[in-house]
């Protein structure tokens, strides 16, 4: 049975595993009677703080990461350059954080994040392409028309191969290919109508690769694909 001691201040019984009343903090042991703390049957465990300290350090590192970006921005605003270099640094920090740091800190699989990561990297490259064009007047389109669709095509290939080879990542990769198919069509249409002067063939390759693999998976893993689509697209 659990034992209790009286806290004269709060008029409550305090569990024998505590030396001080948790309500008022008063010492409840009687030193004259040589009373000691007793672990009663229903005592709470003494909790481990390891995870809490780990989270604290992750927070500190994350804060330092963003402070570095803020310092860069401030310095660049004080010592002006043409063009400003802080957008490169900040977008790179965002990209690194999303693609590498977050999956690592959350102990996630990089394979599972392949879709998200490749889209973020391609957006980062397109941003640099556009920024250079607007600030330095370089030719626009190296990222939008070549780099991004190539990276995305490679990712579709990787996702499709992983899907066929690995049972573990089968579902995630089938979803990836599905998303890429939708994304590739939108991408192709955007390049076709919004940027007609740019090379179209890499975007076409991306769309063909994505839709091709989608159709192939539709043949090989039809049930799984439709189950996943039904779940993902439910309204």
């Amino acid at each position: 049975m659990a034992h209790y001691r009286k806290c004269s201040h709060c008029n409550v019984d305090v569990s024998s595993d505590l030396s001080n009343c948790p309500l008022c903090g008063k010492y409840v042991l009687n030193d004259e009677k040589n009373e000691e703390i007793e672990k009663n049957k229903y005592s709470f465990p003494i909790y481990s703080f390891n995870e809490i300290y780990r989270a604290k350090w992750v927070n500190i590192i994350r804060t330092l990461f963003w402070i570095a970006g803020a310092i860069c921005l401030i310095i660049n605003l004080i010592f002006k350059t043409k063009p400003y270099y802080f957008p490169y640094v900040i977008t790179a920090l965002v990209m690194i954080s999303a693609v590498f740091v977050t999956p690592f800190s959350k102990k996630q699989s990089y394979v599972k994040n392949i879709t998200k990561s490749s889209v973020i990297i391609s957006l980062f490259l397109i941003f640099i392409d556009a920024y250079d064009y607007f600030t330095m007047g370089t030719t626009f389109g190296w990222a939008l028309s070549y780099s991004a669709p190539m990276i995305l095509s490679a990712t579709v290939l990787a996702a499709a191969i992983i899907c066929i080879v690995s049972r573990r990542h089968e579902v995630d990769m089938i979803k990836s290919v599905g998303w890429f198919t939708i994304y590739s069509v939108i991408y192709f249409l955007v390049v076709l109508f919004a940027f007609p002067e740019l090379a179209l063939w890499p975007s076409l390759v991306f769309m063909s690769v994505a839709t091709g693999w989608f159709l192939l998976l539709q043949v090989i893993k039809r049930n799984l694909l439709w189950k996943e689509l039904r779940k993902n697209l439910h309204i």
């Binding site: 305090v14 005592s43 465990p45 927070n59």
Partner: protein
């Protein structure tokens, strides 16, 4: 005589000379000897030094050789150990893989046999919880059964394995769709873990394969932690009781079957898995009253992940007598006492103290769902110079308002948004942003704290000899600093305060007030590292 003298003299002379000569020789000899000695000493010293140096060198060489040997041995040992570790890891991974495959096979066959859908939509009330998450917080609560006998880990694991397929709405992980989040059967086997972390540790919602429940054990405790999107407290209590029932049966106890406990061999019914909000919604248009922002208890925040819990054990019969003396129900008395304590502490400000009391809708709408089906009533404690009796009257009046029309209005308002077509077709990412901000602005900002009473636990009679008490811990609140959970079993009512802040004046004043009213209060704390260590 003369001759003898002469010879004596000659002898003396010659002898004296000889002596002198001898002395000289002796001296020389001595010198030589000394020199030789010195030389020999020097030589010896040199030799010794050389020998010592040689010894040192040899020792050094030996040491080096030994070190080399040790290093080699260590290297060999290290590599051997590494190899052994690698082997163990490989074996473990293979075992885990095999177990996972076997588990997958067995559970998928059970699901097929029982015709259980492999995925579920999140219920109406649950949709808010995944987007409302923060970095170190999501809505997790814990229900604990404190057992009289020591908990057997192996038996508990068996009980969990047997009970889990009976509750498909709990054996799930959170997946992200284009328009909505949804639940899918968890691919990982649920692990029974030792109670080492603070209660209600948030789940990693970004891990789309992770279970959203935890079964935790300690020497005399079996606890069940649940992400609120899966179920509310009442649903979770059904799961825990079924688990306890199975566990006790496996330990050899005889427990009579009763309606309150779901049998693990029964098939899960569609009623248990339904979203009762959608079932009971109608087209009645009843407006909910507009609310103002509520008073907040402030204090110094604890580190993220740390929760201070104060657990108080009270006698139900004594409390009932006190409540009868005040002519009110037990819940009204306890909630009013809390409202009164916070009201007294509040010094300035126009914001009212607002206690949010959840209401179980199952009994009122005859629902058997194990998923979220609860509403709430927010009770404002405001006015001038209120006494405890005034507060009790406020709560009594508000509780009297709760009728089916009031609850129907709540259900309709909740479902109205979710069934709107234009909201349906907004992509999940945008929807999450909107819901997150809505939760921030209108969610917990409109309440001072939540006061959740799970009521009396319905369990078989045999449980009375096996379980000492139940506890409900609501864990950290997202934006409020404190939350209160109540549950009663036999004659024991347990009130658990969970706090995000260091200050505990509210708890102190509340329990002091209850003690003053005549209740016997037994206090436990989860912070043994602060209030007493063994």
């Amino acid at each position: 005589m003369k001759k003898e003298k002469v010879t004596q003299l000659k002898f003396q002379e010659s002898h004296g000379e000889a002596v002198v000569i001898d002395e000289k020789i002796d001296k020389k000899n001595k010198k030589n000897i000394k020199k030789e000695n010195k030389r020999s000493e020097k030589m010896l010293n040199k030799q010794e030094k050389k020998a010592k140096a040689q010894l040192k060198k040899e020792q050094k060489i030996q040491k080096k050789q030994q070190e080399k040997l040790e290093k080699e041995k260590y290297k060999i040992n290290y590599f051997k150990k590494l190899e052994i570790l690698k082997k163990i890891n490989k074996e473990r991974k293979e075992k885990e893989k095999q177990e996972a495959i076997e588990y997958e096979k067995s559970i998928s066959s059970i699901y097929k046999k029982r015709k259980i859908a492999p995925w579920l939509r999140i219920d109406n009330a649950g949709t808010i919880y995944p987007p409302a998450k923060r970095r170190h917080w999501n809505f997790v609560y814990r229900i604990t059964a404190v057992t009289i006998n020591k908990v057997n880990y192996e038996t508990l694991v068996k009980a969990v394995e047997e009970i889990l397929p009976r509750f498909p709405s709990f054996n799930v992980c959170l997946k992200k769709g284009l328009f909505w989040n949804y639940f899918e059967r968890a691919p990982r086997k649920l692990q029974v873990i030792k109670d080492t972390d603070f209660p209600c540790t948030p789940f990693d919602l970004s891990d789309t394969n992770a279970n959203l429940i935890r079964v935790i054990y300690d020497d005399y405790k079996i606890a069940f932690e649940c992400f609120h999107a899966l179920s509310d407290g009442r649903g979770a209590l059904v799961f825990l009781n079924a688990l306890l029932n199975k566990y006790f049966i496996l330990t050899g106890e005889h427990i009579e079957p009763c309606d309150a406990i779901l049998n693990s061999k029964d098939m899960p019914t569609s009623e248990e898995l339904e979203d009762s909000f959608l079932k009971y919604v109608n087209n009645d248009k009843t407006k909910r009253p507009k609310e103002r922002r509520a008073y907040k208890i402030k204090g110094n925040n604890l580190e993220p992940g740390v929760v201070n819990s104060i657990v108080a054990e009270l006698s139900v019969s004594k409390l009932k007598k006190i409540a009868e003396a005040h002519n009110c129900s037990l819940t009204a008395l306890l909630a009013a006492a809390l409202g009164y304590v916070i009201y007294k502490k509040k010094k300035t400000g126009k914001k009212p103290v607002r206690i949010s009391v959840p209401i179980d809708l199952r009994t009122r709408f005859a629902s058997k769902t194990l998923r979220n089906f609860s509403s709430y009533i927010n009770v404002d404690v405001e006015g001038e110079n209120l006494t405890l009796e005034d507060c009790i009257q406020i709560f009594k009046d508000n509780f009297a308002k709760i009728n089916n029309d009031y609850l129907q209005a709540n259900i309709n308002a909740n479902v109205k948004l979710q069934t709107n077509f234009f909201i349906k077709i907004i992509p999940r990412v945008l929807k999450s942003l909107i819901l997150k901000n809505a939760f921030n602005i209108w969610g917990e900002d409109y309440q001072t704290l939540a006061f959740s009473n799970l009521g009396v636990v319905k369990a078989p009679k045999e449980f009375e000899k096996l379980i000492d008490r139940y506890e409900v811990n609501l864990g950290k609140s997202g934006y409020n600093t404190k939350s209160v959970g109540l549950i009663s079993f036999c004659d024991k009512l347990v009130i658990t305060f969970s706090s995000n802040i260091e200050e505990n004046e509210t708890e102190r004043d509340y329990f002091m007030l209850l003690a003053k009213l005549g209740a016997e209060v037994k206090i436990h704390s989860n912070r043994r590292d602060i209030y007493g260590t063994l």
